[in-house]
Subunit: 243 residues, 2 copies
């Protein structure tokens, strides 16, 4: 079905740039040709409707035809774009949780999205976020997670009580931790990563059983948190492979 | 010395948002309190002048006092900011090159800046960029490299001839490569990373002696190139540590 976009619909879509409206409506925005094509191919049942200025789009559902200017107005991308979808919040079932990533207050949406994508690559079973972590449906998270939001279960909860109630060994990335290269790492674990500036909060630090760090060979003060997460996930996975 | 900003100076600073003007003038823009403080502390001899709306700034050199609106106008940050410096292009001397990172057409400035910061952490001796790689003085590169631009030597050159003339073993990240976890890696090497979408170009692929890849355990189609770079640098460094 093809229709034109009403002013009310435009207003409603724009409201989804705020978390409170995304939460209330249970939907979010996905933008750009690559991402929306992936959605249509793999997760079309999540799509509420598509808005596009490209007349050649093939989608067996609601399509609103509009112009480039309106797409730019309702979207968040600064680069030219012809397509945007309004999508139901993914509800990825939580299966057996062997490798869990816990995020304590990650703030930057680009970092968070990259962490979700990297977790998907390494087969993380669950991402648990403290309540102060950036919203998983923030437009920049959506763009940098590249579809992995639909494959990795992500929950927001009280992180101290989650950790206290888990039976998995709890690892945390801390500057004073042991050299991760010299540790033998288990297959099943929780890895805690802290906020970009402040690191892991004091309350959570107390719950960490194994403090680890990535050794430094040069001059940088710190590693970006998404990079550190990627390296630690790789270390846990390569431990398995080397057995 | 404290002066007010003239219209001509404002125009000149704004011109530095384009690579051709940065190249012609040999200077670039550094923004934000954290970055400029680090500059003043460690690399003040690189600073041509500072523009700020913060009257409390201590700097033993040229300071132009201005207002928040002008800082926003001449800068590139979207977040509120009170300080900006115009800085000479870093000229980091190239020492002995044992671990070299070669970038074949990285386009995203955030990725490039994060790669520079990660290379600094792991003590990479030289970053060699193909001519199609994003400019190292692009404002977004500067922000995400967090000062590492002043510590890691970076050159732009004809990458095929650089590789052909090097005596180091040449490794490259390629999907069809061998599992990096099962390889024994040398201390001295060149690691080639390709463009975000297209990977390593055909001409460069021919020069790669050891194709490696990071094994996938989950569903993501690919890893972000900065994440993959961080993991591979970590693998090369952990090989040394494990000896």
């Amino acid at each position: 079905m093809v229709e034109t976009l009403s002013k009310n619909k435009i207003k409603w879509i724009k409201s989804l740039h705020l978390k409170k409206h995304r939460d209330a409506e249970g939907v979010f925005i996905v933008e750009g040709d690559k991402m929306v094509s992936e959605l249509i191919e793999h997760w079309s049942h999540y799509i509420e409707f598509i808005c596009t200025s490209d007349q050649s789009i093939q989608f067996n559902g609601m399509v609103y035809q509009t112009d480039d200017k309106t797409i730019k107005e309702i979207g968040s991308l600064t680069t030219p774009n012809k397509i945007l979808a309004v999508v139901k919040k993914p509800n990825v079932p939580v299966g057996e949780t062997k490798l869990v990533l816990a995020l304590d207050g990650i703030q930057d949406p680009g970092n968070f999205g990259t962490i979700v994508r990297t977790s998907d690559w390494f087969g993380v079973d669950l991402i648990v976020c403290s309540k102060g972590t950036v919203d998983m449906l923030n437009p920049k998270v959506v763009q940098s997670s590249m579809g992995s939001l639909f494959r990795v279960p992500i929950i927001y909860t009280d992180l101290p009580s989650f950790l206290s109630n888990s039976n998995l060994p709890i690892y945390g990335a801390l500057l004073e931790g042991e050299n991760v290269y010299s540790k033998s790492l288990p297959e099943n674990a929780i890895i805690v990563m802290g906020n970009e500036g402040a690191g892991i909060s004091a309350g959570i630090q107390k719950l960490i059983q194994h403090k680890i760090h990535i050794p430094r060979f040069g001059g940088a003060e710190s590693l970006n948190v998404a990079i550190a997460t990627g390296i630690l996930l790789s270390e846990f996975r390569s431990s398995i492979k080397k057995l």
